[in-house]
């Protein structure tokens, strides 16, 4: 069940388009914002409120890389693995993170604190290597800097 707050936010977005179905991506983002990910039940609820089939909602949800159809940790680390970051050594940062957290790309720590994901270019190529933790950008990464950053996210 969508909360009243989620419903209100979705309908506000739907109002700026000629028909409600156009707000599908906005709706997925709203639900994910409140719950961390998008469950099968949420897919159904979104379909209902926007007047489209569950399958349509799911086809959209599974297309976009920043919509999570599986639960993620409390904090999501997105490591840029594109070419400028590769030249500037993202692989070392990934290896360090992976060893420290004991997880590989696509996995979540057993305490649910971090999920580690690869990400296409973050647009911070002049300060590579770069990553995001949740909505925050970090760049010019080193192992020491990664240590300090992880401490900020509980």
């Amino acid at each position: 069940m969508l909360t009243e707050e989620e419903k209100k936010e979705i309908l506000t977005e739907a109002n700026q388009y000629p028909y409600p179905a156009a707000a599908c991506i906005d709706a997925l983002k709203i639900v994910q914002h409140h719950r961390g990910w998008v469950s099968d039940e949420s897919v159904k609820d979104i379909g209902q409120i926007l007047g489209i089939s569950n399958e349509e909602v799911d086809s959209v949800a599974t297309f976009y890389s920043r919509i999570y159809r599986k639960p993620v940790g409390r904090n999501v680390i997105l490591v840029c693995d594109s070419v400028s970051c590769m030249v500037m050594g993202y692989e070392k940062i990934y290896d360090y993170l992976s060893e420290k957290l004991g997880i590989s790309f696509g996995e979540t720590t057993s305490d649910g604190r971090f999920t580690l994901l690869p990400n296409s270019c973050l647009g911070d190529c002049d300060h590579a290597p770069a990553m995001m933790i949740n909505n925050d950008h970090y760049n010019l990464l080193t192992a020491e800097k990664v240590d300090e950053l992880l401490d900020l996210y509980k």
């Binding site: 297309f63 890389s65 590769m86 647009g123 002049d126």
Partner: protein, 420 residues
């Protein structure tokens, strides 16, 4: 264009931007010019699209049906989905001076008589999103957006749509599908968006940097704009350099500076201990240029004559301590992951190319792979796929095979990467 931008600082608010001369072009266009006069001015300025393709902006606008201005609704979209690897120029404009973009969008919407405008923003640009939303609400309060703007009778609503990821959203027809809440799969052209775009209505999609120019051209005229470039094309350009140079970054420079000046003067030259081997001049989907091209002017036609594309003007440097096979593999992995999966050559071909490159890089490659890679370059070339995604992916591969062929062969003969 970057005059009022303080790197990593706070952008000017509406009041201060107006004091600095901002929005004067917007007032001039809406109060003193007809939509056709604005379009003619932009045509005369020869402003070429800054998103990568370099299509003349005024010509794009002139394709929109204008009969008695009655075919509403029409839409203007700012493509701010900057996701080309190695590209970080639009972020600078969005975060640094959102009012410059809004001022340009109002004029552009007026020229095509669009009543609604969207900024299609990359999901990762959180700071830009916050600055844009703040600036838009200031513009509404000041009467630059909404009904009857400055008493001109022209109405415009402006929205920010923050994306949910995927490189293909930057392709203008895929962007339209995404804005309609669908999977971002490109559409058949024709019909072009100018005739049938967002929600089936006439739509113009322009890049951030392109739209940021509009109010300045209205203020200063077409001849002023043309005189800014070194090559007569018109304007300055945001150039960028990333990789192992002393001073990576982005700079506004006259269109047509040489590759050498960009790397040696602005980027400070290669870092000590690193040698230049090649560069992708305009993002990951452009052909390599090498040492013999250092004196090529960074303009649309001159980079094309050197066998590559100006693209976004943001250059990625390949140095001698980075393996070219690993470099190209990284790029092809990106394109394989980001393929929308709609057409077969791209969906199947890119992962195959990626696997072969990985195999060569880790030392299990065979000589015959090189011939298969060359044939894939042909099969995924222009005209064989639904959109420009796969042909773009083939550009660094085909030129990489040409300029770094010996490195590929050495990987295969030695069954290992010499850089590892």
């Amino acid at each position: 264009m970057t005059k009022h931008i303080i790197p990593s600082g706070t952008p000017l608010n509406l009041k201060d931007y107006r004091k600095a001369g901002g929005y004067s072009g917007t007032e001039k266009a809406l109060k003193k010019m007809t939509p056709a006069e604005v379009t003619d001015l932009i045509k005369a300025s020869n402003l070429l699209g800054r998103g990568g393709a370099g299509f003349p902006t005024g010509v794009k606008w002139s394709l929109v049906p204008m009969e008695k201005y009655n075919s509403k609704p029409k839409y203007l979209i700012c493509n701010a989905d900057e996701m080309e690897p190695g590209t970080f120029k639009d972020r600078y404009l969005l975060e640094g001076n959102p009012h410059q973009l809004i001022a340009g969008m109002i004029i552009s919407a007026y020229a095509i008589q669009a009543g609604k405008a969207y900024i299609f923003l990359r999901w990762a640009y959180k700071k830009a999103e916050a600055e844009l939303r703040k600036a838009i609400s200031e513009a509404y309060e000041a009467g630059y957006l909404g009904k009857n703007i400055m008493g001109s009778g022209f109405d415009l609503d402006l929205y920010v749509h923050s994306s949910a990821g995927r490189y293909i959203c930057g392709e203008e027809t895929a962007l339209l599908n995404s804005l309609e809440g669908k999977r971002a799969i490109p559409r058949t052209k024709p019909p072009y968006p100018a005739i049938s775009g967002l929600f089936g209505r006439p739509t113009v999609v322009n890049n951030v940097e392109t739209l940021c120019w509009i109010s300045h051209i209205v203020d200063n005229g077409a001849e002023w704009f043309k005189a800014l470039s070194l090559t007569g094309t018109g304007g300055t350009k945001l150039y960028g350099v990333s990789g192992n140079v002393k001073n990576p970054g982005t700079w506004e420079l006259p269109l047509g500076v040489t590759v050498r000046e960009l790397i040696e003067v602005h980027a400070g030259g290669m870092k000590d201990g690193y040698k230049f081997r090649g560069a992708l001049p305009g993002g990951a989907s452009t052909d390599f240029i090498v040492e013999e091209h250092l004196d090529v002017k960074m303009d649309f036609s001159t980079v094309a004559a050197a066998g590559s594309r100006l693209g976004t003007g943001t250059m990625i440097i390949l140095d001698d301590r980075t393996c070219p096979v690993a470099f190209i593999h990284n790029i092809e992995r990106f394109f394989a992951v980001e393929s929308c999966g709609w057409c077969t050559p791209c969906r199947e071909g890119l992962p195959w190319v990626e696997k072969m490159l990985l195999s060569i890089e880790v030392g299990t490659g065979k000589m015959e792979y090189l011939d298969i890679l060359k044939s894939q370059v042909k099969y995924m070339g222009p005209g064989n796929t639904f959109c420009a995604h796969a042909p773009g992916a083939m550009e660094p591969l085909q030129s990489g095979l040409k300029y770094f062929y010996d490195d590929f062969v050495k990987h295969i003969n030695d069954q290992k990467c010499p850089w590892r």
